[in-house]
Symmetry: none
Subunit: 224 residues, 4 copies
């Protein structure tokens, strides 16, 4: 005991206005760790991620991670579950009222949904889920059921409605919904994987607008 106290005293005397070696950040730590974890898991994948990298990025030591998360797997799961929970909140927001036309419904939904996907950390999840789906099938399913299916269903319904009321051509709504979503998903997946590699980076806004234009009107001037 004596010895330790003296040690502290010395340290204090030697450099009185020193930054403390660490601070208590009980409330903020989990978020900081999750943010760091997201960055590293996204980049390297689950297995290739070393907890030390996450710790370093979160500016804590390895041991601290285990105060807030049971183990590496639980940290990863927390990350995904957290994203799912946030997505659901957003789902409620983006749950669009049916508009005058099916086209308007689709565009409104797509724009709302895209706003979150492209501008928040939520947009990083699809790449991670794709990469880890076989290692964490339960998480993938949870994400799929809660975050992807509902949005797809809105599209299916809108397209089916548009087909029925003569606004859209006769088309399979299920397939059309998937196709409509593919460029959005692909864009996000690409961004966090091939993004740094693709020599011709994409103008996202232009990309999305072109997508809507193409999907609605087609490429052909004189449709067959």
């Amino acid at each position: 005991m004596q010895r330790q106290h003296r040690k502290v005293a010395n340290a204090t005397n030697a450099s009185a206005e020193h930054e403390p070696r660490w601070r208590r950040r009980k409330d903020d730590r989990p978020r900081e760790i999750l943010n760091a974890a997201l960055a590293v898991f996204l980049e390297k994948g689950f297995a290739a991620t070393r907890l030390e990298d996450i710790a370093e990025k979160a500016k804590v030591t390895k041991g601290t991670l285990f105060i807030y998360f049971e183990n590496k797997e639980e940290l990863f799961r927390s990350l995904i579950r957290d994203a799912i929970a946030q997505s659901q909140k957003i789902s409620e927001i983006t749950h669009v009222e049916i508009q005058a036309t099916a086209q308007d419904t689709i565009i409104l939904f797509a724009n709302n949904w895209w706003k979150y996907m492209a501008n928040s950390d939520l947009g990083k999840i699809p790449k991670m889920i794709i990469s880890e789906a076989n290692n964490f099938p339960d998480l993938a399913k949870e994400y799929f059921d809660n975050c992807l299916l509902p949005g797809r269903q809105i599209l299916v319904d809108a397209i089916r409605h548009g087909v029925k009321n003569g606004e859209f051509k006769d088309i399979d709504p299920e397939a059309a919904a998937r196709i409509f979503l593919a460029p959005y998903m692909m864009s996000q997946i690409w961004r966090y994987s091939m993004g740094p590699i693709d020599s011709a980076p994409m103008d996202h806004l232009n990309y999305i607008n072109t997508h809507l234009k193409m999907t609605m009107n087609g490429l052909l001037k004189q449709p067959s």
Copy 2:
């Protein structure tokens, strides 16, 4: 890879004449290992894959892998490089002659390309590249430059040509090409990740046909 191939060639020469044709030949080993590796790497990703799993699938033991491949990383690289090499051969085949209409050119290309993507192991590469792009950026770039860019460029050229000659509406060919490709890519990536999870499995042919119809003619009956 190079080194291994030479070694394999030697082995073949040395023993080919006194072994019956139908017998499993020693120089099939690298192929068998690569096949096994593809299956496991695809499922689990590079870091989560244990060489023992690959060995088991290839019906050899761990030690044997190191006879044919320098180490785990080289095995993975061989896999991708091998796929790139095959893709290039196919590229030559799918390098379509320009057709009467831009639409025909695009459809011809797409069908050819899709034939290989959907029906051979080549279609498994995109998911792996997406997952490992940040851990193997050089491989990702190689794949991108040799397998994706050329195909995309054919589309860009065809669309640009179609826009110029009045066949297509006025649209950004770069963006349009990416959007056109997205559902194809997404379909393959999905297949090997979320495929087993997606409750409503896809009819690929229907999906592709709907895609072509939508892209060419649009959804709207009365295009704006």
Copy 3:
């Protein structure tokens, strides 16, 4: 230990006059911690014991342990040393006057000694010492020299005296003393280890009386 006691004494002096007597006083802490430590160390052994378990049992937090004890090892040592000190006090009590017969001396000593062994925390020490003797040989020696040897010596002396004066048969007093003690020791060691497992729990009083009867008179009706 010494240091802690002084510290405690100070604390008592400083605050004794303005705190009600019945209130749990600060200087009970070391005792409470030692009690908790005894329970957990006894159950799990030194290395398998987590300080957090002791803290919880003592209704303090981990950090508090380090206020009263320098480290885990010192806490353990304090525990044993404390027991040794108590044993010595008791030794003085049980240091029996020589009785009319050697038998009476032995029985008087055994009953006195047993009273403490069977009914106080002192009886928990043998199991701990046995378990940790190789990890803390100095402690084991201290316990042996101060707590076991003196008692054994009393027995050796009494037996030797009994042999000499014809009260006892001709027997090796050293061996006989050990043998006489063994069932007592074993009984305590057993109690805190196999006790909960032994399906037929022991009636201690019966056990001890049988022991005395057997040891003094033997099993045989017609001694050879």
Copy 4:
């Protein structure tokens, strides 16, 4: 590959008659490891034992332990289970025929049993079981049921028989059996814990003989 082969060649050339870095000892390893484990677990206890110590004693590396045992706990359990299995074989040997007198039965059994306890590794188990009983209650129970109870029961039966036929005094056979066994057990427990500390080491044979004499005939010349 090339590189490694050359490396080997160099090493070989440089010191051709070198001892190999390791040998394959598939069949002997488990025994060697168990022996090493017994020594270290016995000395330090389960929790304080580092696998590295066992590995070192067994002249292998840490990793090798995991080839033969699933984890530290399983290694420990294997050790005990192995001892139990051996004990049972011996039990069959020591399962004594009933002799002319109860005294003879007891002495025959005790001598047989003691032969193994005092002269083989089996005698090390009681100290370990005592120490770890609370951490491995299932193992302790298994040991108790298979190794201790049967022997004790033989004694109980013999004593009860002796009491009934007038050979022995009227005594509680259950208690007497425990008391009879205590010095044997204590002797073994002592040997592997306090043994190195006890300044006056024991002559085991003398100890046992004194025990038998005392137990059978008692200390008193003129039994009361």
